[in-house]
Structures are given as structure tokens and as C-alpha cells.
Symmetry: C2
Subunit: 220 residues, 2 copies
Amino acid sequence: MTDFYEPTERTIPTRSRERAAYDRALVHSILDETYVCHLGFVRDGAPVVLPTLYARAGDRLYVHGSTGSRPLRTAGTGTEAPGLPVCLTVTHVDGLVLARSAFHHSINYRSVVVHGTAHQVTDPEERRTALDALVDHVVPGRSSDSRPANAKELAATAVLRLDLEEVSAKVRTGGPNDDPEDAALPHWTGVVPVRKGYGTPIPADDLDPSVALPAYLSAV
Amino acid sequence: MTDFYEPTERTIPTRSRERAAYDRALVHSILDETYVCHLGFVRDGAPVVLPTLYARAGDRLYVHGSTGSRPLRTAGTGTEAPGLPVCLTVTHVDGLVLARSAFHHSINYRSVVVHGTAHQVTDPEERRTALDALVDHVVPGRSSDSRPANAKELAATAVLRLDLEEVSAKVRTGGPNDDPEDAALPHWTGVVPVRKGYGTPIPADDLDPSVALPAYLSAV
């Protein structure tokens, strides 16, 4: 396995090519830092974009949903199923870039765009692994501290796999790029960092008070 | 104008219908709380999802980009242009919902999905208004404290308009919904709130130290 994804016609952007990257470790780090992606597919010729959870295991991404949901039904099951052409996109907003000119305002961000065909996972072992990964991708360590899915729940849940093959990252960092002739303008210029974090966990109303907050949550 | 968007076949979800909402004020409030959407369109029959800034003015959404970018070229210009079928999605993640069972883990979120056809804005006045709105949607008050776009910058910038007509919100709030038979399991259960905010603004290296931080930034 090489350190880079091979660029393709659709992973080479038409704009801001200098921001595009194909470095496998960078792509993985962007994907691992959050857990909600925006999944695009085509329905009746029109685009549909839905937010959904995902997890990564090596160079495979997993999403899941009800077996009754439209995209999962469309993907089909079995080795003969056509799968579902998708575009899966993950974006972190890191900062607001305020330039002196309105035109040069920007956002510091890191995004990953994955093109490919998602297929339903039917192998029971891979399904279990994927479902654990989906829980652990949100809260590392959680899957081993919750009741595993039973047969009925497993039957109601579809898992889609999307291989990381046609994929690119795009990253903007740093300060504003004002035109030199704007340098003397009296406007404040710089970057406002965007912060993300977690508040104090709120126990469920019916939680037995003797159940302590687990270590994996006191760390978030 | 009614208080609700009319549901359509594609804005009525197949799953979790009880979470869907068509309330205009709710949709607007979700759209106004952030500034990055995921814009989906179809290229060569395949879905593409890209993160981009947007702004709302009444029941119109605006996105912008280089006139050379593929989606903007596809939309075309002029009253005869076909426009670009899009799906524009905005998602807030509000909390991690940890149930006792892996199956009932969930996310508290608020999302808006807009279906429609985006058209290039050619009216100079509407273009200016949209570009100001795009800056002010990120940092309210900023457009009047930066140099407006000049003719060359305006010529390089395309603005797309998407009317809010076929639109729905989806909201999950509250705690876990564990099965009653899981109530005695020893796992911590509850909600971990997700927090978003801003760090201390970082002045650009070349900022004249006499330029004070504007009031609209000390409030963020």
C-alpha cells in the first residue's frame, strides 16, 4: 500500500488545486477526528445529501441505517447487487479568516471527499465489526461498555461499506491573503479560531446513581 | 406566506418521520446558526458533495464560487440557463446519546435539507446583496467593515440562488430510548453535550497594532 491515494479526474479540483492532498495519513486523520459525514447519492436523477454517522477501519468506511431506508434498499444485497454510487464528505471548520477585503474572506478547513460505490455488508462478522466501529468512532471504548446488538436489532440494521480508493483531502490553513494595496486599510484582519468540545455529560433520568461516569467519558 | 413549507414526496422521510418538521421559523433558525453547508449535485451521473459557505435572505439561499468552478459553469447564466439541480444540507450536532444498548445509541442533531434548482444570479444589485450576506452570515456586521468587492473581483465571482420551497428540518433531542428490559444494565447512560464556540481572535502578522478588535468580534 502506498502512502498516497492515486488522483483521478474527479479528485483533482478545478479550483485551489494547491489545497488538494492525497496523503493517506492526512485523509485518515481528518476522517478519524469526527463521526458525522454528509452522504450524497442520486435518486430519480436528483442529488440527495443526508448527514449520517460513519466509521473507518483501515481503508474501509462504514455507514449504517435501517434496512428500510431508501439508500440502503437501493444498494441492494448479495454479490450481484449493483451497490449505490455515493460521495461521502467530511468537513472540519477550523477558523474564520477575516481579510481586509470582502473578497479575500475565507474559512480555514480540512475536508475529505470520497467517491465510490457503497455495498451492503452481509458477512455477519464484518457487520459486527462495523457496528462496533460505528459506536467506538463516536466514543472510543463505548462498544465494549454497552449491550451488543441482538439478532432482531442486527436484522433491522443495514451496513454499507465504501472503500477508500478515490479520495482527496482539501486543507486551508493560515492567515488572510490580502492584496498588497489593501494593507493600509483600517479593518481588523486575522483569524478567529473555531473550537469544538464537549460539555458535562448529563445522566439519563433513570440512571442508577451508583453507576459512575466511565473513564472514557471523563476524558472527552 | 404560510408558517410551514409544503411537504413533498422527497421531503417526507421514509424513516423517523416523527423527527421531520416543516416549520418555517425552525428551518430558518437552523440555517442561520451556521454558515457551512454540504452542497450536492450530479456530475456525469454520479453524486458530488462539497462543503461551501451559504447565506440566507428571506426564503432565498445563496452560495458563491469562482466562475470557473464546475457546478457554477453547469448552472449556466441567463434566463434560458437550465440551472443546477442541488440538494443543500446543513447539520448541527448537539449531543452524543449513549444508551445502554449499542443499538439505541444516537446523536442529538438539527438538520435542514433543501431540494431545488440553483440558478446563477446575474442582477448586479442582487449579487452585491448576496455577497454582503455571505460575509455577514459568517460574522454579522463584517461586510460594512471590509473593502467591498471591486469590478474585477465581482467578475470572478459567481453567485447561485436556491429558493427555499422544497425543504424540511429533522430534529432529535432528549435522552436515550433504551428498551425497558435493559434498564438494569450496569452501563452509564445519558447525553454528552457538544459545544461549539470561538477562540481568541489571532491578528494577522501585518495588522497595525493600533487597529482595535471590533465589537462584533469581541462578542463571538
